[in-house]
């Protein structure tokens, strides 16, 4: 009976050798063709172009950038940070909306259930690109013109040119405020650790949520007030109506607002479905047993149902977070200067370094995907059931 097995083995080796050869020929052919054509166009291969002067302006930048002095590498970084900012904000908002809608889909209230279902079906079945156009074009048309911005309580202004918020100035001694915020986050981590140890050793339970919220909000608030009392108040730059436009403050580009709104409302519909499926996956008896033990509905949700549902929610939630990051590249449509718009658009057109630019951009997204997948896997391992 060794005969057929060897035949299969031989066939497998032959097939795999052929496959490797085919891939090698394909890659070699493509590479030589590309090299020839690039040489004919007089393009020098390599990443040297990154240190050349970029010479174009970018409308939103989180790091210092000036058209006259900055390089293509700087432009790349500006685009990357813009992508990350939009993705991070989109993820936070999409999670909040998505959980709310997902829980509403299981609400005992018929109207809430119906409204949540209508939201999910309407949003899921219309392309994101169209929704971005709606936010950027149709919603913006309905806003007041740039010459006459609408005031939101005098503190912020909204017009077709975007949103202007008051801008706190964290230079000088005021950097203590963000520092206090970070300290609050660290303190919450310590409280959580104590809570876990208490739970594991059977000591009385330690509350996490309320003290955590207080720490994160109170510490920066105290720092803010303390600085004010000490005579170094945090400066707030209030926006004000100027002759042509709103002046001062923290301007939010309409492109950015449209992208974040579109991304978060779109992804929220998918997250809502994930949350609903996760909550329904928890056996009915779990909630009933919790209420038999005297837990209230909120306690039962928080202590019994949601921890079990998270096991079903986290893996698909991860891929939705990845989707937000990848979908943020649709920014190119409405002109938000994200990585694809700045690098694959403007830089590619200016330098013609197609191979390098495409390779770098794709590598960034691949790295982001892999990193997110890795972090979520770590978390997932922590929430999976420990089988005894």
């Amino acid at each position: 009976m060794t005969e057929p097995r060897r035949a299969i083995g031989l066939r497998a080796v032959a097939l795999q050798t052929l496959l490797v050869l085919a891939v090698a020929v394909l890659v070699y052919g493509a590479a030589t063709n590309a090299a020839q054509k690039l040489a004919k166009q007089g393009i020098v291969a390599g990443f040297g172009f990154l240190s050349r002067n970029a010479g174009f302006d970018i409308s939103q930048r989180l790091i210092p950038y000036a058209a006259a002095t900055s390089t293509y590498l700087d432009a790349f970084l500006v685009g990357l940070f813009n992508t990350l900012l939009a993705a991070a904000l989109g993820i936070v908002l999409a999670t909040l909306i998505g959980f709310a809608v997902g829980i509403a889909r299981l609400s005992p209230n018929l109207l809430a259930r119906g409204l949540a279902s209508a939201y999910v079906e309407a949003i899921r079945n219309v392309p994101l690109l169209l929704q971005l156009l709606v936010w950027y074009v149709a919603v913006r048309v309905a806003l007041p013109p740039a010459e006459a911005p609408a005031s939101l309580g005098g503190a912020a202004f909204v017009s077709q040119r975007g949103l202007v918020l008051p801008r706190p100035d964290f230079s000088g001694a005021a950097w203590l405020v963000p520092l206090a915020f970070l300290a609050g986050i660290v303190a919450v981590g310590m409280v959580r650790r104590r809570a876990r140890i208490a739970a594991e050793t059977g000591r009385p339970p330690v509350r996490v949520w309320l003290p955590g919220l207080v720490l994160v909000l109170l510490l920066p608030g105290l720092a803010w007030i303390g600085l004010g009392l000490a005579g170094h108040p945090v400066a707030l730059h209030w926006p004000a109506r100027g002759p042509y436009d709103v002046e001062g403050g923290l301007p939010i580009l309409p492109e950015f607002a449209a992208l974040v709104m579109g991304l978060s409302t779109y992804t929220a519909a998918f997250i809502a479905e994930i949350v609903r499926a996760g909550l329904s996956s928890v056996a009915r008896g779990q909630g009933e047993a919790a209420s038999a033990l005297g837990l209230s509905r909120g306690q039962a949700l928080r202590l019994v149902v949601i921890p079990q549902a998270l096991r079903a929610i986290v893996p698909p939630l991860t891929s939705q977070y990845l989707n937000v990051t990848k979908n943020s590249s649709l920014a190119v449509l409405i002109g938000y200067p994200d990585l694809v718009h700045v690098f694959m658009g403007t830089v590619l057109n200016q330098t013609n370094q197609a191979v390098e630019v495409v390779a770098i951009t794709m590598a960034v997204y691949l790295a982001l995907s892999l990193a997110t997948a890795f972090l979520m896997n770590l978390y997932n391992r922590r929430v999976t059931m420990v089988e005894r």
Binding site: A12, Q16, K37, A112, V340, M362, Y365, L370
Partner: protein, 377 residues
């Protein structure tokens, strides 16, 4: 008499609040608690504000006929103006076919009819001879549709350059090419990822994870600038073909993962039983494993197709005249400049995409329920 005995009857309790009938239904579903009542009232308030406004915009204040944007301008019409459906009516041929020559429009129509036949044959599970249907849908239909649309002088069909194709026609072309390529390729990749041959497995896995890790936009940009670079000599790639290649490869990776999920649900015993009956590896796959796997994967496949259909809109960014792009071009027509044109255009586009995607989603749900019913037996 002992203290623990009652001397008088307990007073009867009040009758329970209505639990049956319409009142009880209302109480259970809408007013079961204080929070519930507040929610109900808030939502009712929202609906009372939003629904009349939407109906007024879409129907009552809408303009149904007119030859130019003037009909939809409030200052000319002398009344508040809602959706400008006259604009859609005027542009409908452009939205459907792009610049496809008017006398030849029967050709896309015939191709649409063939598509409907292919889709019906594949999706109706009790249809006769579905094996022939598969050959028709994945071989005969794509070839005949290509000949119809781009023309074949030997058959008396005048050539029509792809640059003239546009609108919903191109959206359908992109989606159909994506489906027709990605389904077989996805099955191959899924099998490859589960293969015992290490080279096949690693290459399939790398291929799948690469396309799934990058955004479609970057794939389309890559296809646009790099496909011409990779080909030898002066071969030029059709402008429409470039994004098609990108979309097909991209969709294959997602399709592969869905099919792999289906393959994982087929118990190992099935393949072992097939081998015990004397079927070879290929026979066992074709006759035993794949039919079961694809049946389970069908809802996922339809969901991937929905995603693919929505993703076709991205080709408008790389300059292909798909439905969205011709819609934007129509919107920019100065003859039709009126304040509600953008909202009208997007409402129409949303309706079109929603009907297609929602229909497919309902079909996927129907299959899923059927499968679940089969499992319960």
């Amino acid at each position: 008499m002992a203290d623990y005995l009652r001397s008088d009857l307990v007073a009867p309790r009040a009758p329970p609040a209505a639990v049956g009938g319409p009142l009880g239904w209302l109480r259970r579903n809408l007013f079961s608690s204080l929070g519930n009542t507040v929610t109900t009232l808030l939502i009712l308030g929202f609906l009372a504000w939003a629904l009349p406004a939407a109906i007024r915009f879409l129907v009552i204040d809408a303009v149904w006929t007119g030859a130019s944007g003037d009909a939809c301008r409030p200052d000319v019409a002398g009344r508040p103006v809602g959706a400008c459906w006259a604009f859609i009516a005027d542009k409908i041929n452009y939205l459907a076919y792009g610049s496809y020559p008017a006398p030849e429009r029967w050709r896309p129509n015939l191709a649409f009819a063939l598509l409907a036949l292919a889709a019906g044959w594949m999706l109706w599970l009790e249809a006769p001879r579905r094996d022939l249907g598969a050959i028709f849908a994945f071989l005969a239909f794509p070839v005949s549709a290509y000949l119809l649309l781009s023309g074949a002088p030997s058959l008396g069909l005048a050539p029509v350059a792809t640059g003239l194709w546009g609108g919903f026609l191109v959206t359908i072309v992109v989606a159909v090419v994506g489906i027709v390529v990605s389904l077989p390729l996805g099955i191959l990749l899924a099998l490859g990822r589960r293969s015992t041959m290490p080279v096949v497995r690693v290459l399939s896995t790398a291929f799948i994870e690469f396309w799934r890790g990058v955004p479609l936009i970057t794939v389309l940009f890559m296809a646009n600038v790099m496909l011409p670079l990779f080909l030898p000599g002066d071969i030029t790639v059709d402008r429409l073909l470039r994004p098609l290649v990108g979309i097909a490869l991209f969709a294959s990776a997602y399709m592969a993962e869905v099919v792999r999920g289906g393959l994982q649900t087929v118990p190992k015993g099935q393949a072992e039983a097939a081998a015990a009956l004397g079927l070879g590896h290929a026979q066992s796959l074709r006759l035993v494993v794949l039919p079961q796997a694809l049946k389970v994967a069908l809802p996922g496949i339809v969901n991937t197709i929905i995603g693919l259909f929505k993703d076709t809109t991205l080709v408008s960014i790389v300059g292909i005249s798909d439905f969205i792009r011709v819609l934007e071009a129509s919107r920019a027509d100065p003859r039709w400049s009126a304040p509600t044109i953008p909202a009208t255009a997007y409402a129409f586009a949303a309706l079109v995409y929603f009907s297609v995607c929602f229909g497919m989603a309902r079909y996927a749900g129907f299959i899923e329920r059927r499968l679940a019913a089969g499992d319960r037996r």
